[in-house]
């Protein structure tokens, strides 16, 4: 029997389908070719001197004066060995300063022991969150591994570069020069001070630091001096990147990603146990022994929004929740590799409600969202708006837009730059003299992938869907940062 042309073609089609589907080809290509988003983890060789940014759209709103300090990893690769995880690059502090309608940008590396050792060796050797390190590491204290790369807190004339497992690193706000690690009290030297301190309505600053199933609860005065530090036991040794607070409560969300053994890098000691659910521990700020535990189905998160308590005792807060920690384990590795597919689903914005009768509920929205930020005039108080990054899709990492979720109306409004921008966290900046929640700007950068440049955008919260009211462009692209703080 002579195979007909038709059956031959059918056979070839079947064969090719078995060998390579279009999806497989695309995935394979993505694995090999440097992605356009790879600039988000590019290496910055040296400090970046202050430069004037070029206004390319709109104009600066009257009354917007101040500085957006942003932190994030800026150096990943060295000839003798490199970081293998997004969270382990050297902290690069950026300052976007807006004055008299002009914007400037400068960036300076946090001068850490880790960076000094690795500069001397011309190799990344220090173990971290996802980077193994090697025997050349010199780590006599957790601060010797401190990358000072995660977030920033403005205190007086300083900005503190924050990490997760060690001390804040003080830098001068005026020129970003490093002053050194902050020891809040001699006997608390090197205690972890996490990346997401929260201010209470009275100006006091609260934060946590964890070691296994123990946490230090920090209470700082508005000027950054120590008021109190207390160590508490946690019901489980969860990985915790963030906590939240109302005016009266601290809220620790204990996800089922738990430390089951001592290991480095950190992610090697963690196990995902979704069947154990997520526990929410609420503590009374005035008496940390007064606690209540709530149970929710298991979910993964890095970031929480500000919480508030209602008159009947109901507590609410938002969270950027996803189904598992695949991004934290594998996605962040793909980002540094600069090509490939990020596994898992992007986080969605969800609202958690803790009822006075002990019930807990979690309502997940359709909004893809990370980096939730809210009105600083309402920290710990009832609010309705959450600003967040948006537009991340499965398979392609990093956000492409910004959105505002209105919890009262259930509406989401947003603006998408499109896939040629990597959009970073935007901070909520109240308009001078205004009190309404939407009387505010969102200020944050993006990387314009086509131009190869970092841009700074200002949005009006009330009309975010109209796009930026002003955009400035730098003459270079900095890698994507993590978290920022506005100093007005």
């Amino acid at each position: 029997m002579i195979p007909s042309r038709r059956s031959f073609l059918m056979g070839a089609a079947a064969l090719s389908a078995a060998v390579a589907t279009p999806e497989m080809v695309r995935a394979a290509a993505a694995l090999d070719v440097a992605a356009d988003w790879a600039i988000a983890t590019r290496d910055v060789e040296d400090d970046v001197a202050r430069q004037t940014m070029r206004l390319i759209h709109g104009r600066a709103p009257t009354g917007l004066q101040g500085a957006l300090f942003r932190n994030g990893p800026g150096r990943f690769r060295r000839p003798g060995g490199s970081v293998t995880h997004w969270f382990d690059g050297d902290g690069l502090m950026r300052a976007f300063r807006i004055h008299d309608g002009q914007a400037t940008l400068e960036a300076r590396f946090a001068d850490t022991p880790k960076r000094r050792v690795e500069t001397e060796l011309n190799a990344v050797v220090t173990p971290g969150f996802g980077t193994r390190g090697d025997p050349r590491a010199r780590v006599g204290s957790n601060d010797d591994a401190n990358a000072a790369n995660t977030a920033v807190m403005a205190v007086g004339n300083q900005v503190w570069a924050l990490w997760e497992g060690g001390s804040p690193l003080a830098m001068e706000a005026s020129d970003l020069s490093t002053r050194g690690f902050v020891t809040l009290r001699d006997d608390l030297k090197a205690m972890p001070f996490q990346a997401h301190p929260r201010r209470a309505p009275d100006g006091s600053i609260w934060n946590v630091g964890t070691a296994g199933d123990r946490a230090v609860i920090w209470r700082l005065n508005p000027d950054g001096g120590l008021n109190q530090a207390e160590v508490i036991r946690l019901p489980r040794a969860s990985y915790m990147h963030d906590f939240t607070a109302t005016d009266r409560h601290l809220i620790l969300v204990l996800q089922p990603w738990v430390f089951e053994r001592q290991a480095l890098p950190v992610i090697d000691g963690l196990a995902w146990r979704p069947e154990a659910g997520t526990q929410v521990m609420v503590l009374d700020k005035d008496d940390l022994t007064r606690r209540r535990l709530y149970d929710l189905p298991g979910f993964f998160h890095f970031h929480l929004g500000d919480a508030w308590a209602e008159n009947d005792g109901t507590i609410r807060f938002d969270v950027a929740a996803s189904g598992d920690p695949r991004f934290a384990v594998d996605g962040a590795r793909v980002l540094v590799e600069g090509h490939g597919v990020v596994p898992g689903d992007p986080a969605r914005l969800s609202l958690i409600t803790l009822r006075p009768d002990g019930r807990a509920e979690m309502a997940t929205t359709e909004a893809i969202g990370e980096f939730p930020k809210a009105d600083p005039r309402r920290q710990g108080l009832k609010r309705s708006l959450t600003a967040h990054t948006s537009g991340e899709t499965q398979g392609r990492p990093l956000p492409t837009g910004l959105a505002v979720q209105d919890w009262d109306s259930g509406r989401s409004r947003g603006f998408h730059f499109g896939p040629h921008h990597v959009v970073e966290e935007a901070v909520f900046v109240p308009k001078p003299g205004a009190t309404a929640e939407s009387d505010a700007w969102l200020v944050g950068p993006s990387i314009n992938l086509q131009a190869g440049r970092t841009e700074l955008h200002v949005f009006d919260v009330a009309r975010i869907e109209d796009g930026p009211v002003a955009t400035w462009q730098a003459d270079l692209a900095l890698p994507a940062g993590f978290h920022g703080a506005w100093a007005g």
Binding site: R138, G140, D186, D187, K189, A190, M191, R214, V231
Partner: protein, 142 residues
Amino acid sequence: MKTRSALWATAALSVAALASAPAFAADITFDFDVAAPTGRIMVALFDSEANYGGEGQPVRYAMVEAADAQKTVTFENLPDGDYAMRAFHDLDGDGKMNTNPFGMPIEPFAFSNNAAANMGPASWARAKFAATGAVVQSISLK
């Protein structure tokens, strides 16, 4: 011939005895540099990896006042061999290496060769040094 071989044997024995007897020849000096002139520097010298690793006692130990102009200790008449030293600066003079609530040392510590710690004390391989005659090391406790 018998006498001659006996002599040789005696000589060989005495040579062997000389070789195995301790040669009290090494004087090991540490000169410390500290950040604050309070409390004292606690110094422990070890002569084996096992003892250095915590299985046994130091071969010598000393305390040096941090306020002294010369913050120096000399361990004299030690057998030639490999040694390693651990020191910490007991800033508050309470005799203990203080830690923060999570167990991390909060007083300065150092090892011979100024060997770097790596997730724990510097290894014997990094901290050991061969001692014959006078050995002087400047150790930073800053």
